[in-house]
Symmetry: C2
């Protein structure tokens, strides 16, 4: 039986413990939603002040040169690349994950002209499915989305498949998939592989290049701690650069944007995936937080993440048994991302009652309680305190209070 | 002959003069590039501090409900709509101007199935041309871009034209076009009209609804003062809402994004044009600056803008004659946006020498000096002082110094 002193000992020995100081955490609360919106690095707030009060206010347009605004998407892209096992020049920060999914799917479909099928996990994050549906419905030339339960992926693969689009970690269950094995299987059928790393990048070691992935996208606001709606990023394997052609040919993707020429000529390499003027305020906040991520060894992040989630699972089973909770996330460490999901018939009011006790998790409809584990700012003892609060909410039945039944617009 | 005391008198009588206090302007400089990147409203800096230090840092995910993050794109879109003569529910803040051009062009082409031509001004802003080229090249089903000198627009119109895409003010010459007359002409040939208002919105009264425009896009970082790379916006006339279908079908454009359903169902109205998670930091800064714009009567902004630019033209002709400057911008007030462009064979070094004297303008290749007029933070006397400095740069020949020849990455 794990005790609170056991966890205190783990905190004392934790090599990542000093990182907690680098975040401005919500006072009096334990925050388990870093998998949805990461906590704020103090350096991001400082960076925002500098960008606003000096770069924008004082240096204005000259900041494009003087403060490197014009290179920010590529500079930041390369930093993100180091966190996902990509080579320099393969990743660029831009747009939203959804828009980047569109680019990647569109490019992939063009690269496999005889094949018209996009395969995806039926339980993929909705926007991944929606962007593929939009593309196929709008193209209307036979491109179609085929969804399948991921454990039956083989049944969906065939010579008609242009691209397989999957999330590395399922947003609802926290299950982690085998990137190398799936990519190999997809390539064996002649299709291209697109990974959505929104729920894994920054949380665990990723080796995109070693796995041979073709495309990847991800967001900046979850484990990268880039701030609400932070810019996303897109990765294209270097071997495809000469062949791909994005449908979104904006001026920042031009070879010479400031020559203001009348004809589009794509920039060499990943820069051709840029579209409009980059959002400097949001992107600067993300750069500051990615710089912080780069200071922490990813292997240590993963090790602590798995220990945190394992402790959570163990403690929930010890202290919350008999209250209708069901573990959704795989128990095997190798199949677990950095979140733990529990099913409960009254997930919504249970979570509201837990939040009222200062433990912040979230809910995914209809019945999933989600807890994200972010090793840079969570302590082992936080896990103990969170499970204690959850046990108390369930034991007392306080979640049945009327105030906890009211649904919010964003769940 | 206009004298400096004449301009001092105009400043004293200026009803917009109090707005200057509301901006944090660059110290010791006169800033004439608000048509490229607007100066920083003090309220934007305050808003950023609140969003960062309270909403992100302390309230985190709960801010989606508590601080109205989830409604920000529509709330801000409606505010922008008031500045461009649109009805509520017709405008939404999202993505970049380039991405919004793609959506509008793609929707327009779908609405006119028998017609395959996109018409644009050969001298339109490059990204407007590039996005159309990308769309047509990528679709490969006969959709093509036809460019024409705008004074010969009639020659390009015909029964094969699906949509005409034009900028309201030319970015290089400052010429303002007649929105009502052109829209009528385009509709007469059965095509749809897309206006890019990047260089006019916030600078002069616009009546999109009264002109019958179908689509419009624009950016947030020029006359709206929303900050570098601020989010853009898109407008679709309400009468088209039931028919249009964006190819970019992301989760924020879904009818019930937080139900996490597997099939895309577009939100009613303009919200279906949203794609990914909105960039809250950048969008909050833009909302603060748009709120400021809404306090100033647009007719007063236009009146002062024209007086500023008229004074600039007059003073340049008085004080800079014989130095090779040529006025590019139309002299007639009704054909002038809120910038004045001068051609000079040595535009680049002349501008660098002027900047060294603390007067900030910019250059557009190959030979255009640009000066933007932003009535909320420029004084009439600033125009006098800028022209005096320009005259001195030209008279002294100091622009010939070696230090002013070096080109920067961003011009």
């Amino acid at each position: 039986m794990t005790t609170r002193p056991d966890l205190e000992a783990l905190d004392r020995a934790d090599p990542l413990a000093p990182f907690r100081e680098r975040f401005a955490l919500p006072r009096g609360q334990l925050y388990f939603v870093g998998n949805s919106l990461g906590a704020m690095p103090k350096a991001s707030a400082e960076r925002m002040r500098r960008v606003v009060d000096q770069e924008w206010s004082q240096d204005l347009v000259r900041s494009w040169n003087r403060h490197g605004w014009v290179d920010l998407p590529q500079r930041l892209g390369d930093k993100i690349g180091r966190l996902i096992g990509a080579a320099p020049g393969e990743t660029v920060a831009c747009d939203s994950t959804s828009v980047n999914l569109f680019k990647a799917l569109a490019m992939a479909v063009k690269l496999r002209p005889g094949r018209r099928v996009i395969v995806s996990d039926a339980d993929n994050f909705p926007t991944d499915l929606y962007m593929a549906q939009g593309l196929s419905g709008w193209l209307g030339d036979g491109v179609e989305l085929r969804t399948v339960a991921l454990d039956r992926l083989d049944s969906a693969l065939g010579e008609d498949v242009a691209v397989v689009s999957l999330s590395h970690v399922n947003y609802r269950t926290g299950e982690l998939f085998d990137m190398a094995a799936i990519t190999r299987k997809v390539h064996d059928c002649g299709a291209l592989m697109l990974w959505d790393l929104a729920h894994s990048a920054g949380a665990l070691p990723i080796e995109l290049a070693a796995c041979g992935a073709d495309f990847a996208v991800g967001c900046g606001y979850k484990y990268f701690n880039g701030g609400p709606g932070a810019p996303a990023w897109i990765h294209v394997a270097e071997r495809l650069h000469a062949q791909v052609r994005s449908p979104l040919t904006g001026w920042f993707g031009h070879e010479r944007p400031f020559a203001f020429e009348g004809h589009y000529a794509p920039a060499a390499g990943i820069a051709s995936l840029l579209v409009g003027t980059p959002p400097i305020l949001s992107m600067s906040a993300l750069e500051a937080s990615v710089d912080l991520m780069l200071e922490a060894p990813m292997a240590q992040i993963r090790e602590k993440s798995l220990r945190l989630s394992a402790a959570f699972i163990e403690l929930v089973e010890q202290h919350c048994a008999g209250h209708g909770l069901q573990l959704v996330t795989p128990r095997e460490p190798g199949r677990r991302g950095s979140q733990v999901c529990l099913r409960h018939a009254q997930a919504w009011p249970v979570m509201q009652a837990l939040i009222a006790r200062g433990v912040i998790g979230d809910v995914r409809a209809p019945d999933i309680l989600r807890f994200g584990f972010t090793p840079l700012y969570l302590r082992y003892t936080d896990v103990w305190d969170a499970v204690s609060a959850l046990a108390e909410v369930l034991r007392s039945g306080e979640w049945q209070r009327e105030e906890f039944q009211l649904r919010a617009k964003v769940t």
